[in-house]
């Protein structure tokens, strides 16, 4: 049975919400999400999605992603260091095994890790609950063993989900999901048990969309980032907003693209008095402690709480 509505969150219009003020009186919480991914050379098939457009091996796209793991991440780390931004890494967990040198460099920078599945060529489509649990347990255990960090966030591999994903995340003690794009502020996600929030990530200012879908030029992308930031900062005065720049070194780090990106990043981080330069876990922790209950109450006060939880029929 399929559903017309995921029922993962309630409608919550973007006006007169309880005011969020980020730590230090800041108006906008800014985080950067480098996707540190592994795409397999000869992945198994999934009934719902082909991993590569051409028959395996698909040399140019495979090797272009490997370029990220040999060249791209190092260039992006340097640019982020200069701007004073720690990454919140969307991690293909198998990278811990394939490229520990990259993981060590991220640990040394005190970057946050969250799970982006095991490989970006293994999709959640068709997984039963036990299989999806195995992916989450592998993610928690493997990152903990390699870095000492307990992961708190999830971005499903290649944005592939099941109806159980969000309930399982809450059950395993995750704080946030990056898979929902309904808002520029965090929001409670309706799970069976426990608490989970949606963390504003972005498809609009994600370099995959910029370069792969919108075909923007590098300089146009930089301009988009600046305008997106200016608007969210202005709105953050009324109630704190979140801006995330999701990146893929195999795209943004090329010599024709990284210069304009660096310029945009330095423009954003130049607004030090107004923005909280942080990680997704720190935003989630602060939101859960200070704003989660108020959000639930405000949605109820407006008469918008529909009850039920994700993919479960609304009572009545």
């Amino acid at each position: 049975m399929t559903h017309r509505d995921p029922n993962l969150y309630d409608y919550w219009p973007y006006k007169e919400r309880p005011k969020i003020v980020w730590p230090g009186g800041k108006k906008l919480a800014f985080w950067v999400a480098p996707n540190i991914e592994f795409y397999e050379f000869d992945p198994p098939g999934n009934p719902s999605r082909k991993p590569w457009a051409a028959p395996s091996p698909d040399i140019v796209p495979y090797s272009a992603r490997d370029w990220g793991n040999r060249v791209g991440h190092w260039r992006l780390m340097e640019v982020m260091d200069k701007a004073g931004v720690r990454g919140s890494i969307s991690l293909s967990v198998a990278m811990l095994d394939h490229h520990p040198e990259i993981i060590e460099a991220c640990v040394a920078r005190n970057w946050e890790f969250f799970s982006h599945g095991i490989y970006n060529t293994r999709y959640s489509y068709g997984m039963d609950e036990a299989q999806e649990r195995a992916v989450l347990e592998d993610s928690i255990r493997s990152v903990q063993a390699a870095t000492g960090q307990r992961i708190r966030g999830y971005l499903a591999p290649a944005l592939t989900h099941t109806e159980k994903t969000m309930d399982l995340l809450a059950e395993y003690g995750f704080w946030y999901t990056c898979d929902l794009f309904q808002d520029d502020q965090p929001q409670p996600v309706k799970v069976k048990d426990g608490r989970l929030i949606s963390m504003p990530y972005s498809l609009e200012v994600n370099d995959v969309i910029t370069y792969g879908v919108y075909n923007q030029s590098p300089r146009a992308y930089a301009d988009v980032l600046k305008r997106h930031f200016d608007q969210l900062l202005e709105e953050g005065e009324e109630s704190g907003t979140v801006m995330c720049i999701p990146l893929h070194a195999y795209l943004v780090s090329h010599p024709n693209r990284i210069g304009p990106f660096q310029e945009a990043l330095e423009y954003i981080t130049g607004h030090k008095d107004d923005i909280w330069i942080t990680t997704a876990a720190e935003i989630a922790e602060f939101y859960l402690a200070n704003h989660y209950d108020g959000a639930v109450a405000d949605i109820a006060r407006r008469g918008n709480a529909r009850g039920g939880s994700g993919f479960n029929p609304v009572a009545g």
Binding site: N46, I59, W74, H98, H99, S217, R219
Partner: protein
């Protein structure tokens, strides 16, 4: 029905890449590449000489630029052929004026049909590499082994007939390979190839017949990519080449020589309205301190030292 259990088994989850061709190697940890005469960045211009049959099989896919309308697609056949008749001569003039030695990737079918074109390129001092037989001879895993070996041998032999020497470099049509293609290239006499885009510097590449050197070729400044796939105007192409040169010159000062690769198709870049932006982009890149045009073979020679 859940997925089969082995969907969650990861037999190649291990240190380094999930294939045997090369090991992990962060680019900044390597010995610096020293380019000749104190050059910092090698501008590697690649020109593709392709033959697009009027009746492609389309197997296992149609190459970018292949026929699109029902047979006979004279529109696409002749626009591609324009490149080999007119566009390429415009590009040759620009390269000559700017003193740029380039790598021309010639398909066997082009050499067979237009040997005078190949000889003109050779006479201008450019490097000639093999680009497979034609755009409808796509190397892939299901390709018959004999057919793949024959395509490699025929391409090298035809180019040798025209130029006097067999090319050492190879670029597969549509940059497609089967799992065994690199092994068969090395067995066929190829010394280096440019199908993979996994790095910014040459890398060793293992085959069952010994080492085949990989010259990674970026498609970021590829004319098809920027002008056709992305549909960007020509001025942006010029800007991106200049930005790339600036960034790489800066890195070269810290990490050693870098390669800036640019791929041109005469039927795209050789259009009358595009030839001036092409010249501008090359001229701007060469105006950066330490940027020097080199062929793929010359870059490899520097890397091997």
């Amino acid at each position: 029905m859940p997925l089969p259990d082995d969907y969650l088994v990861y037999p190649k989850r291990r240190l380094g890449p999930d294939h045997e061709r090369y090991d992990a190697s962060p680019v900044r940890d390597r010995a610096p590449l020293v380019l000749p005469d104190g050059a910092k960045v090698a501008l590697w211009v690649n020109v593709l000489l392709e033959f697009f049959p009027l009746n492609p099989s389309g197997k296992p896919f149609k190459a970018p630029g292949a026929m699109q309308t029902p047979y006979p697609d004279l529109r696409h056949y002749t626009t591609r052929d324009y490149g080999n008749r007119v566009g390429v001569y415009r590009i040759l003039k620009v390269l000559d004026r700017l003193g740029i030695p380039a790598t021309f990737w010639a398909q066997g079918a082009v050499a067979e049909r237009y040997p005078t074109l190949i000889r003109d390129i050779q006479a201008a001092g450019h490097e000639i590499g093999a680009h497979g037989w034609d755009t409808d001879t796509i190397h892939h895993t299901a390709m018959d082994e004999g057919a793949e070996r024959k395509a490699i041998a025929d391409t090298l032999a035809t180019l040798k007939d025209v130029t006097g020497t067999a090319p050492q470099g190879w670029l597969s049509p549509a940059r497609a390979e089967g799992f065994a293609t690199p092994d068969r290239l090395k067995e066929g006499g190829v010394e280096w190839f440019a199908d993979w885009a996994h790095d910014e510097l040459p890398t060793a590449f293992r085959t069952t017949a010994g080492d085949l050197t990989a010259m990674p070729l970026s498609d970021m400044l590829d004319d098809w990519q920027i002008l056709v796939t992305y549909r960007r105007p020509e001025e942006e192409w010029v800007a991106q080449v200049a930005d790339s040169a600036d960034w790489l010159v800066d890195e070269a000062d810290r990490f050693g020589g870098r390669v800036l690769s640019l791929t041109l198709r005469p039927h795209i870049s050789g259009q009358a309205y595009r030839i001036r932006p092409l010249a501008d982009s090359l001229e701007q890149a060469l105006a950066r301190p330490g940027v020097r045009a080199m062929t793929g073979g010359a870059i490899l020679d520097a890397w091997r030292k």
